[in-house]
Symmetry: C2
Subunit: 328 residues, 2 copies
Amino acid sequence: MADVAKLAGVSSQTVSRVANGQPGVVESTREHVLAAMRELGYRPNSAARSLRYGRFNTLGVILFSLASTGNSRTVEAIAVHAATEGYAITLIPVGAPTQDNVLGAFTRMGELAVDGIVVILEVQLLDSSTVHLPPGVHVVVVDSDAGDRYPVVDTDQADGARQAVQHLLDLGHRTVWHVSGPAESFSAERRARAWRTALEQAGRDVPAIERGDWSADSGYHAGLRLADRPECTAIFVANDQMALGVLRALQERGRRVPQDVSVVGFDDIADAASYLPPLTTVHQDFAGIGKRCVESLLRQIHDEPAGPGTDLVPTMLVVRDSTAPPAS
Amino acid sequence: MADVAKLAGVSSQTVSRVANGQPGVVESTREHVLAAMRELGYRPNSAARSLRYGRFNTLGVILFSLASTGNSRTVEAIAVHAATEGYAITLIPVGAPTQDNVLGAFTRMGELAVDGIVVILEVQLLDSSTVHLPPGVHVVVVDSDAGDRYPVVDTDQADGARQAVQHLLDLGHRTVWHVSGPAESFSAERRARAWRTALEQAGRDVPAIERGDWSADSGYHAGLRLADRPECTAIFVANDQMALGVLRALQERGRRVPQDVSVVGFDDIADAASYLPPLTTVHQDFAGIGKRCVESLLRQIHDEPAGPGTDLVPTMLVVRDSTAPPAS
DNA sequence: CCTGAAATTGTTAACGTAAACATCGGATCT
DNA sequence: AGATCCGATGTTTACGTTAACAATTTCAGG
């Protein structure tokens, strides 16, 4: 900057004014400065800027993995929305979901150049009182029931699961079986609980849960077990990938979908419409989640304190070809 | 920091030494300082650190979208590998692949707090000479043929496509049809070119290309067109998602896979093993790509200049159940 | 041609940190 | 005991930027 000032024959303050487009610089001067900038390839140093302003214009995202469609789409939505507000986003991956790792990530985050943090851990670790976020850092948590301690943005999982079950019951199925996600997952538990509640409220039997780990392969094995039960005519699977595995298992065992068995998934990932058959599933608004996370953080950064509480993003059942009335 | 120093009754320099674990601080002093840090909730200011050191310990990733499995897995690998080296990563999404947007993103990147940039655009825009990266910034480009101007890390797409075609020819198919990605995509073009070359070298007919846009839906429509050609018994699809659509189209038209038609995909995404039938596909080492990107950037940052040139990551054909010899 | 106000440009200081150098006190050696 | 050295700690300064204020120039109006 000093070099630019010298070359343009002005003070560094004037260079700063030109760099920030501030008024009060005469046109000819501005052009000299711009020319000098170009000639020297000047780029403002954002560290110095951040130091001066006390803000980084950056949001942090702390997560386990981008492997799941939901996470990566949420992160993308966060990035896009943050960009429109002039914020960049920084990714902090946590190796394995152990307490130590999570704690370490939070510590690193505290030292990081971010103005706020989105926590996407989808694991119940946050609930254990031993894990605490650094005080004085703006935070939003996604998919968690830490709503009593932090602002939370979450999909309305319960209502989505309820819609799925209701759809199957409305078609005439006696009851609905469930392939759930892993027990450590908050989302998996919420969906399973809502499934159970919906069945109980309708006065139906509640079959035993088949548990998977979100992967298509785990869905396949769960599906094999269900395929052998002739009384099983309707399955609510906790995500689309496992549903894909369930479809394969049913097909292998000669049970046709939807004629013999109806299947409903959860997420509405892009591929679900191309499964065999195209999957009826619960649509999640990942973009909406990302948007609300950014909005909440920006509100906090602009000094509108956001207390604990949960912001629920609605879900919607998308009916395709994997559900039908039971064979009578 | 000054507050901590005052509370601990030492100079700020001593606080700095304790914060960085430098030697030459007597144990009792260190503990006083640590106690003061805890009491005041002290966190080092990374902007000041960056300003002092001239480095940010951050790498930027510039990309269009995280929606594709390949991109998100590459980004995750970059993040994980960067983290082990003490670097965070910053995501810069580019809205639409127009020249203006790309240019704008590069400009923003130049002003950003990053020590190096990974460019994942998978589009041929980079080749047009009008788009130039800011000089003096360390860069690695993924999936591009800008290898004459920048260091490039790329999957060995050509060899992967060759393996796929060879596998089908070895099974006894007369020739292989191709569902390609969009024409703007560098990867799509490379795979199509290698497919054509492999057929020509084997002296086989080269059928017309069916073009998709990477989505399962586009694969479905391409698949419908191919399903109506009885002479089509082997299809090489440029990615797994489109292959999913092709499978659905063939199934709808009553052509069995693999008995009537063999299908090979590209990517080996997690779900491919659960398709109906499980998909034979070309495995891409996304983690390896991410790792090499980080390694290249770190080398550059540590003053080992990396000239232009392409670093090819090998691919491997994974044979599952979607390929078989043609019905004789 | 002078006065005063407005427009433009320059100067100083501060953001938080750490390298380089300076100082201090005690231990070791002669 | 005095000289010397070494380890522990303090002081100064610079990193690049911009807010606040100061100084200078310009120009209208009398």
